[in-house]
Amino acid sequence: MSPLDFVVLIGSLVGIAVYGMWRTRGQRDLNAYLKGDPNVRWVAIGISVMATQASAITFISTPGQGYQDGLGFVQNYFGMPLALIIVAAVFLPMYRRLNVYTAYEFLGHRFDSKTRLLGAALFLLQRGLAAGITIYAPAIILSTMLGWRLDLTIVLSGLLVIIYTVTGGSEAVTLTQKYQLAVIFGGMVTALVVLLMRLPSNLSLTDALTVAGGFQKLQAVDFSLDVKRRYTFWSGLLGGLFLSLSYFGTDQSQVQRYISGASLRESRLGLMFNAVFKIPMQFFILLLGCLIFVFYQFERPPVFFNRAAWNVGAKQDPGGQIHSLEQKFTAIHVQKEQLIHAWLDAKHSGDHQAEAAARTQAQEALERSEAVRAEVKTAMLAADPHAKTNDSDYVFITFVLDYLPHGVIGLLVAAFFAAALSSKAAELNALGSTTTIDFYRHVVKREATDAHYVTASKWFTFLWGLVALAFALFANLVENLIQAVNIVGSVFYGVVLALFLVAFFIRRVGGTAIFWAALVAQTLVFVLYFSLSISYLWYNFIGCAACVLFSLLIQAALGPTNTPTGALATP
C-alpha cells in the first residue's frame, strides 16, 4: 500500500469515528443513548440494519465464494424478505407498543422475569462468544495480505470501535454506519468498474457472462430436492426464513437498530428497505466474484491465493514439487485461454459445433487446472501440516492489491474495515444495552437516574469491547473458529426463537411452562449435539420445535393460564 492508500484508509475510518463522537458528545439521556435519535428516518434505519448484518466477511469472502462456487450462495437469502415482512407486521408493533429497550424486556412483559432473564442470558452467551470473530476474521485476512502485525490490527481497529460506541451509544452507531456503508458501496462499485475496464477489450459483457456460465458460475437457482446439496431454492427459502426470523426478530443487535425509528412507519419502511435490497446486493457481490473468475481466465491467477501461506510452503519445498506444479498450472492456463478465445470466436461466427467442442475442451482444461491446485494444496500440507489450504477468502483482496490503482486500494481496505467496525459497533451496543436493561436495571439497581444508567451502559459496553478484543487476540487457539461460532449460534438460536414465537402466537402458554420448556429443549439440543452427527443447522429447527412442543405439554399439565390482554394481545 502506498502513502496515498494510507491517507484514504486512515482518513475515512478515523474521520467517520471522530464525526460520530463529536455529533453525539455529552449524551446523558438513556432513551437517546440506547435507542438513538428519536427522529431517525427510515432510510437511516434501513442502512443501519443492512450495515449491521453485512460484516467485513460479506465483502471480503463473498466475492471469493462467487469465484469458487458461482452465484448459488444467493439462495441463502431467499427466506429473508418473508421473514422481514413477519417481523415488520408482528414483532415490531409489539416492541413499539410496549416501548421496550431490548427484545428480552418484551419476554418479561409477556411471560415473567425468569423467562426474560433466560432469553437475555442466551443472547449474551451466544453473542458474547461470537464477539471476537467480527474483528478477528477480517484482521487475519488483511494482516496476512498486507504484512501488518495481526495483534496490532486487532487492537487498533477494536479500540476505535470501542471508543465511539461507548461515547455516543446507539445514535453514534446509526450515524457512523451511514457513512461507513457509503465507503463500502463506493469501494465495491469502484472495484466493479475497474474490473470491467480491465477485462480484454474485445470481450463484451455478454461474452464475459457466457464464459462464466460455461464454467457453471451462473447457476443462481437450483430447485433440486436433494438435501445433500449445500445451496438450493428450498433450503434457502425455508432455512433462510427460519434463520432470518431468529436474527431480525430476536437478536438485540438487530432489534436495537429498528426500534429506534421516529414512528412505527419509519421502522417498518427501514425493514422493508432491506427486504427489497438485500438479495440484489448479495447478487452483485457474488457477480463481482464471477467476473473476477472471468478476468483470471485471461490473466494468469496465482496458483494459490493466500500469498503468505504460499511463500511458507514454497520455502519448505525441498524437492521443488510446488514450483514444478506452478509451471504445470501456467502451461494449462495458456492452453485454456486459447480454448476460450476459440470458443468465443466460434460463438461470434455462429458455428455451434465448434463452439460446443471448444467449450468442452476449455471446461476440461479448467478441471485439469483445479486438479493441479489440489495437488499444490496437498504438497503445502506435506510441507507444513498446519497450512491453511482454503484460499477463497483471499481471492478478492489479491485482485484488489494486484490490479487496482493506488488510492482505490486504500478505499477498498477502508471499506473492509468499515464493514467490520459497523457490525462490531452494533454488536457491542446490543451487549451493553442488554446487560444494563435486563440484568443491571432489572436485578441489581431498579431505581436510579437516566445519567446513572447511561454511565453503567458505557461501562458494560466498554467491558464487552475488552472481552471481544481478548477473544480476538487469542482466537487462533481455537481451530476452525468461524464454524465453532456458527455451531454455538445454531445450538442456542432455535430455543430463543421459540420463546418469541410462543409469546406472539400461542396465547395459552404462560411463563412457567415456556421457561421449563426452554430449559428442557436446550438440554435436549446439547444431548443431541454430543450424540448425533447431523449438520449443525438442523439444531435451529430441533431446538425451536422441541421448545414449542414442550411448552404446550407442560402448560397442558399445569392447567390454563391467563391469556395476555391489552397491549400484549397480538394482532
Partner: protein, 43 residues
C-alpha cells in the same frame, strides 16, 4: 405538515401496509425470476 399516523404508509403508490408487503413479495418473485432466467440463459 400533519404528522402521519402508524396506519398510513406515507408512500404515494402504496397506501396500506398490505400493499407494501405485496410489493416486497412481488419484487422477491421478480428477482427469483431474473435469477432463474440468468441460470437458464447462460448454462
Amino acid at each position: 405538515m400533519k404528522p402521519l399516523d402508524d396506519k398510513a404508509t406515507g408512500l404515494p403508490w402504496f397506501r396500506t401496509w398490505r400493499a407494501v408487503y405485496i410489493f416486497v413479495f412481488v419484487s422477491f418473485i421478480l428477482w427469483v425470476g431474473l435469477l432463474v432466467a440468468l441460470t437458464v440463459t447462460f448454462s
